[in-house]
């Protein structure tokens, strides 16, 4: 791709970017949110058209007006949200839209099954093509998508953060598949935020920052710190953040807290002014556990105590009244209300708190939000703008703001910096530290060990719905957390 430029409105998202992908290599495309990775790949995948510049495939200039043309030329784009139909078997999914047909349009199921089996044999994959996609775990779904790309004779495969929802062994499985493909001469573009994975699987790297290619080279020549520096343009802080610790009375205690499916026998306590981390890998049950604490779900057994008194919480409304706040994960699905404006999104939690006989106190909400806007440094045009017009980081700050307005005793933050750029991340961290210093009890749920280490006083590591161990101080290291999260135990220190 040569001299690619792309603007959306007045916003130039790609500035004269030129990249080359060779066959038989895995090349990492790295950058912060909004750096232009997705736009660049969408141009290659035929989703967007370039304003200027050109794409060359095997030396030939090509032009993609739509994704179908790009796919026809051998470029397969595997999106983060997989494009599989759960209720069809693998082999039918492989041929969606291009089914093999016999006479009179009858589907030739046997031929499709055989073709799928052939590819699985070639790639050394041991699954039955007749398996329903529903019954596959996330990694095999990813693998089916890759096989579909192979079936279409793809010479370039773009993989957009393929490992985000995978567990450790699943990631290894997908990587194995990627290596096999590489050895067979396919060029793979691997978009990822996880630098550890980049170091492990990629030969080359490309770093985008603010729409420009700022660094490229061989992975062997650099360290993770180097790449991280390229991404942000400045050295990353990795020490634990400091604050005035003001740890007081116990706020929340769980005893034998159990939900039949998601978590079992959880015991924990959180004190006021304390920041407790809870981490683990996908499927550890931490979100379900704390959504239950927040009343969005019911536990099947076990007891919950707030400030020493036993409570039963059956609705989120009740939890809110008892002084519990919960900032959810997946902002788009659980956090923001897209049909409402910024002010509504920032005040929804406190509507009933400040209303007199059901009538909203809009002035008060505006006043509170204006203060928070300064404290959290939220960038926006007017309070009446639709929430969608804000960047991801600012949206997340608005979601945080709605909970701060309620001033809860216990604030649970589930992946508080998900999909947020580095600058906004630091500002959210600062806000969390400030709240703890003021005496709020805080629980941070995160899958990023670094986040836990930087932010928390101590952390519980969950594994398949149970607390596997606790780390704090000296023992709170990425290695220890990973060992517990994968089901291991810490040696006696």
């Amino acid at each position: 791709m040569k001299n690619i430029t792309k603007s959306f409105g007045t916003n130039q998202v790609l500035k004269d970017v030129s990249i080359t992908i060779h066959d038989g290599e895995i090349c990492a495309l790295i950058g912060e949110n909004g750096a232009g990775k997705s736009t660049l790949m969408n141009i290659l995948g035929g989703v967007h058209q370039t304003d200027s510049g050109a794409i060359f495939l095997d030396g030939q200039r090509v032009h993609f007006a739509n994704p179908a043309q790009s796919l026809g030329a051998g470029i397969a784009f595997i999106h983060q949200e997989l494009n599989l139909i759960n209720d069809l078997p693998i082999y039918e999914n492989m041929f969606i839209g291009r089914e093999l047909k016999g006479r009179w349009g009858r589907l030739d199921l046997a031929a499709m099954e055989q073709a799928t089996q052939d590819i699985f044999d070639r790639m050394d994959i041991d699954i039955d093509p007749k398996t329903m996609v529903r019954d596959l775990d996330a990694s095999y779904k990813q693998i089916v998508e890759i096989c579909r790309a192979i079936l279409m004779d793809a010479s370039v495969i773009i993989m957009d953060e393929p490992t985000t929802s995978l567990t450790e062994p699943e990631i290894e499985r997908v990587f194995q598949m990627m290596r096999t493909l590489r050895d067979q001469g396919v060029g793979i573009i691997f978009i990822s935020h996880k630098l550890g994975e980049v170091m492990e699987i990629c030969q080359r790297y490309l770093v985008l920052r603010d729409g420009e290619l700022v660094a490229e080279g061989d992975v062997a020549d650099v360290t993770m710190d180097d790449i991280a520096r390229f991404m942000v343009g400045k050295a990353l802080i990795i020490d634990q953040l400091t604050r005035t610790k003001n740890i007081g009375e116990e706020v929340l205690r769980l005893e034998g807290f159990t939900h039949a499916k998601s978590f079992r026998g959880v015991d924990l306590t959180v004190r006021s002014g304390e920041i407790l981390g809870v981490t683990g890998l996908l499927g550890d049950g931490r979100s379900a556990l704390f959504q239950t604490v927040f009343g969005a779900d019911r536990n099947t057994s076990g007891n919950m105590f707030l400030s020493g008194k036993q409570v039963k919480i059956s609705s989120t409304e009740q939890a809110l009244q008892m002084g519990i706040g919960y900032l959810p994960r997946n902002r788009k699905e659980n956090g923001i209300i897209k049909d409402m404006n910024v002010l509504d999104n920032a005040s929804i939690v406190t509507w009933p708190l400040f209303a007199t006989r059901g009538v909203l106190d809009t002035d008060k909400h505006v006043e509170i939000f204006q203060t928070q806007r300064r404290e959290l440094d939220i960038t926006l045009q007017t309070l009446m703008d639709p929430i969608n017009t804000l960047s991801g980081g600012n949206q997340q700050k608005v979601v945080l703001a709605k909970w701060l307005a309620a001033n809860p005793k216990l604030l649970i933050l589930d992946n508080p910096t998900q999909g947020v750029d580095v600058g906004a991340k630091e500002e959210i961290y600062e806000a969390i530290l400030r709240l703890a210093a003021e005496g709020m009890a805080i629980v941070v749920l995160s899958s990023e060990a670094q986040e836990i280490i930087r932010l928390c006083d101590r952390a519980l590591v969950m594994y398949h719905g149970q607390i596997q161990g606790e780390v704090s101080g000296e023992t709170m290291t990425e290695q220890h957390i990973m060992r517990l999260a994968t089901g291991g135990i810490l040696d006696a220190v």
Partner: protein, 346 residues
């Protein structure tokens, strides 16, 4: 010529942009257009301006009064649809409530309040209160079926629709209550020779609900729940209660529509009264910009949507379009309205 066309295009473009910012502008423009057409069709062939104005005004009062009942129901339907639900039972609830009102105030031997020796204004007041309570109870029942019983709104209200009408018809067989003249005043009280009352109720309710929708916790929570139920729940909103209340409100509004209708004509056809009302109410909401997917819709929009349908109906009447074809036009408006709104979103 070219430049003229160019400016026209620009103007249109600007209007469309204005619409994108506030969908009310477009709806209001369509309504204005219809009002102008309606005025032209009525003609100016009258003796004096005064006579023309009287004729014009009377025509409007008639249009509005004839649609006040459905108009009131459509306002409630807007809330229901915003939460992502639907209420098919409004017509049957109307008939059931109407039957109860008439049994209560019947001046014949079997009139319940009459037998208890209550007549006149106290009887009417009692009947109105009982009707409102009944609307509330039926609506709340439907709401609880949907929230606690976890039945899809379409199914729950389809069931209620069948049950309410069938039971009403069964019990009202061969019984023709006589509605006292005094009760008719609720809808037929004349002011300046015109019967404004139904229009007055409609406008007052619209204003109140407009306020509720924009300025109260409940009104905002309705939109939040409809736009993103999970996010609303995780913001401490009691989603079940908000939804139930929406159906309770719907029930009360249907009861009001029922009172207005009984008082207007003094009788009720249990088999046909209110049938198709749910569709008319939904049509008004949709024409007014309410999204069937939930999360979007306004009281003002629905009010104007109802007016558009009403004026359109009246025009078709004036143009002499055969009655059977009028429904086709109604269908056309709904589809066109949604099509236009879809175009603007993209």
């Amino acid at each position: 010529m070219e430049t003229v066309r160019g400016t026209k295009k620009n103007l249109l473009h600007r209007l469309i942009q204005a619409r994108a910012a506030d969908s009310h502008v477009g709806i209001a423009l369509v309504l204005l257009l219809l009002v102008i057409v309606q005025t032209l069709v009525l003609g100016f062939d009258y003796g004096s301006f005064g006579q023309w104005f009287t004729a014009w005004f009377r025509n409007w009062v008639n249009i509005l009064r004839n649609n006040a009942g459905v108009g009131i129901v459509a306002l409630g339907m807007t809330f229901v649809i915003i939460t992502g639900g639907i209420d098919l039972a409004v017509g049957s609830t109307l008939v059931a409530t109407g039957a109860v009102i008439m049994t209560l105030i019947d001046t014949g031997a079997t009139g319940i309040l009459g037998q208890m020796g209550i007549a006149g204004a106290p009887a009417y007041a009692t009947a109105v209160v009982i009707a409102l309570v009944m609307g509330y109870v039926l609506g709340t029942g439907i709401g609880l079926l949907i929230t606690k019983g976890r039945i899809a709104p379409f199914i729950a209200t389809l069931g209620a629709m069948k049950i309410f009408r069938s039971v009403t018809q069964h019990f009202m067989q061969g019984y023709n209550p006589r509605v006292p003249r005094g009760f008719l005043q609720i809808s037929n009280l004349q002011m300046g020779g015109l019967m404004f009352m139904p229009i007055l109720y409609w406008v007052i309710i619209a204003l109140v609900l407009h306020y509720v929708s924009r300025r109260t916790t409940f009104g905002r929570q309705v939109i939040a729940v409809g736009s993103n139920e999970r996010a609303a729940q995780l913001s401490g909103v009691n989603v079940g209660r908000v939804k139930t209340r929406v159906y309770s409100l719907m029930g009360i509004l249907v009861a009001i529509a029922s009172i207005v209708q009984v008082a207007r004509i003094g009788s009720m056809d249990y088999a046909n009264a209110g049938s198709g009302m749910e569709m008319d109410a939904i049509a008004a909401a949709v024409v007014g910009g309410t999204s069937m997917a939930g999360g979007r819709g306004t009281i003002l929009g629905t009010f104007m949507g109802m007016l558009i349908i009403a004026v359109m109906n009246n025009l078709l009447n004036l143009f002499g379009v055969p009655p059977f074809l009028r429904e086709a036009f109604k269908g056309l408006i709904v589809v066109l309205a949604v099509l236009l709104q879809r175009k603007q979103m993209t």
